[in-house]
């Protein structure tokens, strides 16, 4: 384990810098708000920071949507025909 760690920190030769730069640029393309041309050499730390923000916002959206769905499903009228569609689908 220790040898692997020292190998990683010392050389990084297994994974070229180029590959990391490529990955980071791919990540940058995924982030919202960067459709408009950004400078190619956006710093890695900035991209990472925006990635973290984006992941957090996606988590929050999932949470809000589950909340919304839960409330909608609980207020669904038991007898209506439309509700039966949803019910058969989910419940």
């Amino acid at each position: 384990m220790s040898s692997r760690r020292s190998r990683q920190s010392s050389s990084g030769a297994r994974i070229s810098d180029d590959q990391i730069v490529q990955l980071i640029s791919k990540l940058q393309q995924l982030l919202p708000g960067t459709r408009i041309q950004r400078s190619n050499k956006a710093s890695a730390s900035k991209v990472l920071q925006e990635t973290c923000t984006y992941v957090r916002s996606l988590h929050r959206e999932v949470d809000d949507l589950s909340d919304r769905l839960s409330q909608l499903l609980s207020t669904i009228d038991a007898d209506s025909p439309e509700a039966s569609i949803i019910r058969s689908l989910i419940m």
Binding site: M1, S2, R5, Q8, I15, Q19, I20, L23, I24, K26, L27, L30, S43, A44, S45, L48, Q49, T51, C52, Y54, V55, R56, L58, H59, E61, V62, D63, L65, S66, D67, R68, L69, S70, Q71, L72, L73, S74, T75, I76, D77, S80, E82, A83, I85, I86, L89, I90, M91
Partner: protein, 195 residues
Amino acid sequence: MHTSSKLTKEFTKKWVKGLQICCSSKKDMDVLERKKKIKLCADIALASAKNATTSWSIALISEAKKNDENEILVDNLLGPESRFKQQKIIRQMNSCHKRVRSKKILKKSCSISQRMKKMGPPKSNLAAYIAKRLVKKRTQVLQRLVPGGESMDEFSLIKEALDYILSLRVQVDVMRNLANATEVLNQSNSSNVFD
């Protein structure tokens, strides 16, 4: 991106299946409990739709399995054909723990030498030094956000984060569509009542 439409279909199928399992067992759940179940189903469905091809999905499922209540749900969603993948998950769980523990021991023993290094950054490389530290800090934050990220090296972490973001997007889209559809149905239903 035909892969995302495939993922959408898989996720939707599994999520609906999971919801049927969860919500049929108890008719009267309070809103909070139902919300937790919906979210749990969504997460497990997303991870299992990946079919154990990525680290984060394996980590997510192994995390869910730790809770005994979820065992049935997870087993049902994973499906019988992926039983060997369940073995993979269990093995990954165990290896993860060992890796995290040994990493922690290493970190502690290296902290003193690291502190000495941090004392005197070479002036000529100050900008690079700061940039490096920032990247390290942000990487740590990302590790906490991506499931299973604790035991990944930088390279795999970024790859996993890429895939995780794409999958999260699919999850959000499907959930949003269902919520909108339910809302529309609810509204049309209530307007019918007043006709």
